[in-house]
Amino acid sequence: MGRIVLENVTKSFGDAEVIPPLDLTIEDGEFAVFVGPSGCGKSTLLRLIAGLEETTSGRILIDGEDVTEVSPSKRGLAMVFQTYALYPHMSVRKNIAFPLRMAKMEQGEIDAAVDRAASILNLGDYLEKRPGQLSGGQRQRVAIGRAIVRQPTAFLFDEPLSNLDAALRVGMRLEISELHERLKTTMIYVTHDQVEAMTMANKIVVLRAGHIEQVGSPLELYRTPRNLFVAGFIGSPTMNFITGEEAAKHGAQTIGIRPEHIAVSASEGTWTGKVGVAEHLGSDTFFYVHDTGLAETLTVRATGEVSFRNGDTIHMTPREDLLHRFDAAGERMA
């Protein structure tokens, strides 16, 4: 079990209120991702759940039990840190065994648990090495191993992949997702990278300045972003925003259209512009279009092989059914 509920939780450091009153429920077995720009309070929120920070007010419940005043070690949560936080003087085996040793488990059981974790994470060959002798990806695995041996009620990850290079990141992303499939334990994952959020989450929590902007499944957020912030944050490349006359035509202050929801043509279309930079990714091509009279730059995606060059005139037709409309306050209009 691992159902985590935050009720009216706030957190201030001195006078600075980092988390304004916040309610959130994470269901048992869910993979929840907190996503938002740097400094928006994601880590603080995670540390509140872990018990590493005290709440200023409000309650935190795990499986219905109020743990607001319970010490971190008694909450049954395991955390994986961005800097791995491995114990540098201990071998990998001892690192992974540490939580069990603290729980005064028998040596035989400890060894068995460590070996099981090591085989899940392919760490068998490194058990006798020190963390300093491992690569970033291996260290991250050890940190995850140290978390899973405890069989916690929930895992907390704080930007665990941001110190890895791009290729490793993709690999570890998959491994963590697979781990979740396998263990079916609640996981809360913090990241500033919306791609990680979209690919891994069952439930995304978009945060801005400590506020929850929207909670939903990746596709919900993609299809029906509740406001301009979420619309701009989710999706890559980011949504095009158009204001002024064109928006007024749709009865909105701002309209948004994703690059992949615009059809391009050399001859006819609703909008026209000049191609600036073209990014050819093989499967897709992204054009950055200028001089449209709508916005500084419009990004459009074309699939397959399309031959527009820098300076060419391009015609674009948005899919009206996938147009997002926002009012003056930036909220989504029905």
């Binding site: 936080a85 491995l86 003087h89």
Partner: protein, 312 residues
């Protein structure tokens, strides 16, 4: 000139200087330790100049080993050095951990804690032995008198007086006596060198990784386990440094021994060398070589021990 020659040439003065600096004294000590060489001898005036003709082989070593003071001096050297190391490391770690937490007035406390290190050793010894440890005039004497007076007063109490009557009268300890002068040296040097250990450990504690601590907290480690499994291993290297540097310094303690007891029952190797060197340079040199060997044994032994116990 090849590419390598120029840098080598430029390095050479420093290297040569260092070699000369080390090798000449060591070489001379070795040489003197194998010849008969005294400063004054009416009977054998030829021994007063160092010369290969006066070759004595291991005779000086035999003479030193047979000297009744030698074993005592080795024992005393070890007792003093090891006690100081033990006390300064333990006190240093404790104090450093205590003042690593933020509290009001921490800056001033730190400066005060470091200050004993800036007192000259001889002054330190004079102050301790005369003003603090002296059984009559020092703080010790005054404190013991005070406590005794207090106990006498308590013995006059109506009911409890009988209980206090069982308490013995305290007598002050003389730290200049044969049996106790080494302890005086240990106390005063520990007082002076604990700040050094604190300073080194304090800087090291500031570089301790806080996330490791948080990970350990989540892993269920209490304050003691965090100290034992994270802080202490983190301090392993600084402890080794403190032990090495202090071992080197304290094996050559001299001023304190001289001031506390003039070596009376309390000689260490340097003091013995000093006594021999009043006349018998050959024996003094042989003792010096023993001291070098002892220093190396102590250093290797201590480092091994620290490495074994701290690094998991």
């Amino acid at each position: 000139m090849s590419k390598r020659t120029m840098p080598r040439l430029l390095q050479s003065p420093a290297v040569v200087l260092l070699l000369v600096w080390m090798l000449i004294p060591l070489g001379m000590t070795l040489f003197f330790s194998f010849i008969r060489y005294v400063l004054n001898s009416l009977r054998r005036p030829e021994w007063t100049t160092p010369s290969i003709e006066n070759w004595r082989g291991f005779g000086n070593y035999d003479f030193v080993l047979g000297n009744k003071d030698f074993l005592l001096a080795v024992q005393n050297s070890l007792l003093i050095v090891c006690s100081i190391l033990f006390l300064t490391v333990i006190l240093g770690v404790l104090i450093a951990v205590l003042i690593n937490k933020a509290f009001p007035g921490r800056g001033i406390v730190r400066v005060l804690l470091i200050s004993p290190f800036f007192v000259m050793p001889a002054v330190n010894a004079v102050l301790w032995i005369n003003m603090i440890l002296d059984p009559v005039l020092g703080l010790q004497g005054i404190a013991v008198d005070g406590i005794n007076a207090l106990i006498r007063d308590l013995q006059n109490l109506p009911v409890l007086g009988a209980f206090f009557g069982l308490w013995p009268e305290l007598s002050p300890i003389s730290f200049r006596a044969t049996q106790t002068s080494a302890y005086a040296v240990i106390i005063m040097v520990t007082w002076q060198w604990t700040p050094f250990a604190v300073l080194i450990f304090m800087t090291s504690l500031q570089s301790e990784d806080q996330q490791q601590k948080e990970a350990a907290i989540l892993d269920g480690a209490g304050a003691w386990s965090q100290f034992r499994f994270l802080t202490l291993p983190h301090l392993g290297r600084p402890i080794a440094i403190v032990v090495m540097i202090q071992a080197i310094f304290h094996l050559s303690l001299y001023a304190e021994i001289e001031i506390v007891s003039r070596g009376n029952g309390n000689k260490n190797l340097p003091y013995l060398i000093g006594e021999f060197a009043n006349n018998n340079i050959g024996a003094a040199s042989a003792t010096g070589i023993f001291a070098v060997i002892l220093a190396n044994i102590v250093a290797i032994f201590l480092l091994r021990m620290i490495g074994k116990t701290l690094m998991e």
